[in-house]
């Protein structure tokens, strides 16, 4: 793998993580538990889709085959999507949505912070904008997780169930693939081990305040980062890509 290929894979993964999670959050629009949350989740989804556009545009340039952000988003099958499994899981109930966002945001923020010192100018530029956005995302998901944990018996139980179910998907966040190892050595991206320490500290602090138990580490699901996904991504992409697939090659 050349460094250019590694950079392409990394940019695609960052884009896919944001796009797939943004898509899932956008499914709440019009159906949220209260109006203010419809607005907040739409905001977060907009940030994430905006980040995805930056990353996929950059990935297309790095690759040098003239693929646009839309070519990459709409004309790849799930086997070429490189996002982590955590992002593609169905939105579930609001506890699952919040718990998933929290577990991802707590990883996403230190990652973006570290990327602001990347030796790659473009990754650095994207991260500088993203840090502000993701800081808000983490605040939003933490606050709600704490409300659920320390709210009612029902909300506590729903939040705990969500955490227990999602925990197995967190291991994959920190297992570097060949591209990430190569780029970390070159100082382009951080070591995922360092991000894991920060993630773990944030998770510990928030779960404590939320009076929720930290699930035990066990078997970790993985595969998303190399394009082997859960059964959920295919249908999501089928829906997302329907117009581009039905009417190929036209402008929208």
């Amino acid at each position: 793998m050349t460094q250019q290929e590694a950079l392409f894979r990394f940019a695609v993964r960052m884009g896919d993580n944001s796009l797939v999670l943004g898509h899932r959050l956008s499914e709440w629009c019009g159906h949220g538990p209260q109006l203010e949350e419809d607005i907040a989740q739409a905001n977060i989804a907009l940030d994430l889709i905006g980040q995805a556009r930056n990353y996929l545009t950059y990935a297309g340039e790095v690759e040098g085959k003239k693929r646009s952000e839309d070519d990459l988003a709409y004309l790849r099958t799930d086997r070429d999507y490189l996002n982590v499994l955590l992002c593609e899981l169905p939105k579930g109930d609001y506890a699952q949505t919040i718990a998933r966002s929290f577990l991802f945001d707590a990883f996403h923020l230190p990652l973006q912070q570290a990327l602001t010192t990347s030796t790659d100018e473009r990754l650095k530029g994207i991260a500088e904008k993203a840090v502000k956005e993701v800081t808000y995302h983490l605040r939003h998901s933490s606050e709600w997780l704490i409300r659920f944990g320390d709210g009612t018996e029902e909300s506590h139980s729903r939040a705990q169930v969500a955490l227990n179910d999602l925990w197995r998907y967190t291991g994959e966040l920190f297992i570097p693939d060949e591209a990430e190892e190569m780029l970390a050595k070159a100082g382009v991206v951080p070591k995922l081990g360092d991000i894991q320490k920060e993630w773990s500290a944030t998770v510990g602090r928030v779960l404590k305040e939320a009076t929720l138990n930290r699930p035990a580490d066990g078997w970790a699901a993985s595969g998303g980062k190399k394009g082997v996904h859960s059964e959920h991504l295919g249908p999501m992409l089928a829906e997302m890509q329907t117009l581009q697939r039905t009417y190929p090659g036209v402008e929208w």
């Binding site: 956008s26 629009c29 659920f148 997302m240 402008e251 929208w252």
Partner: protein, 312 residues
Amino acid sequence: MAESKEEALFQEKVDAEQKIEPKDWMPADYRKNLIRQISQHGHSEIVGMLPEGNWITRAPSLRRKTVLLAKVQDEAGHGLYLYSAAETLGIGRDELNDQLLTGKAKYSSIFNYPTITWADMGAVGWLVDGAAIMNQVMLCRTSYGPYARPMVRICKEESFHQRQGYEIMNVLSHGSPEQKAMAQDALDRWWWPSLMMFGPSDADSPHSAQSMKWKIKRQSNDELRQIFIDRTVQQAEVLGLQIPDPELKWNEETQHYDWGTINWDEFFNVIKGNGPCNKERLTARQKAHADGAWVREAALAYAGKKAKKKAA
């Protein structure tokens, strides 16, 4: 009926174009009429999120997805402003919500029509938001201050919504034959329901005369509808699309377009609940509210615990 002294003063103020504010004296019917109108307007924004929300996950490019999501988000914001305006008249948000969910309060019937193709996102922005703007521009000068003021911002956002709708139509109507057919089909389906958005003819509009006297409304349903038609016909020409009205014709004498007849049976039928999506829309709102109950309870319980800790 003899006017009371207070009522005479109130009307003087309205006639002098001074805004009525929440603490001012107002006739009970003025308050009632405004609550009805503002809450209907707010409910329309909230229910209006559904037909367009239907395409967020299928928008054909990342740019279109972003714009559509932002637009639907704006509508949630408009709903919030309008509910706040209604609250200044002494009705609570829970009561407003109950009225919507039980079907006691109405919302704009246009949202009971289905959005079945991507071109509907264009037609809804261009025609539905276009018609809504006509009403809302007028409402920037409505006599009740807390209703007039948010309208200024809402109108700015709505005009962006209309432009993005028109832009979708423009791309489609200049695209492939299939895209052009999609655009024409959307115009065919949305044209008449959009004209119905202005409400019954002046002669059959139960609240109109009083609302005009109180300057809640400033232009009649028929006046606004005619301005909308005159403007939109020209826009359709630029798109190269046919307005589905064989009687549509420029009238040199009146300097307006003559046009056909609205199917008022359909209009009153959809209001009564017999539209293609009345049930779906209400069910979606009821489900969101019911599924979200434990979330709102948790937020309240947590806030209560926090307040207690702070006091201790």
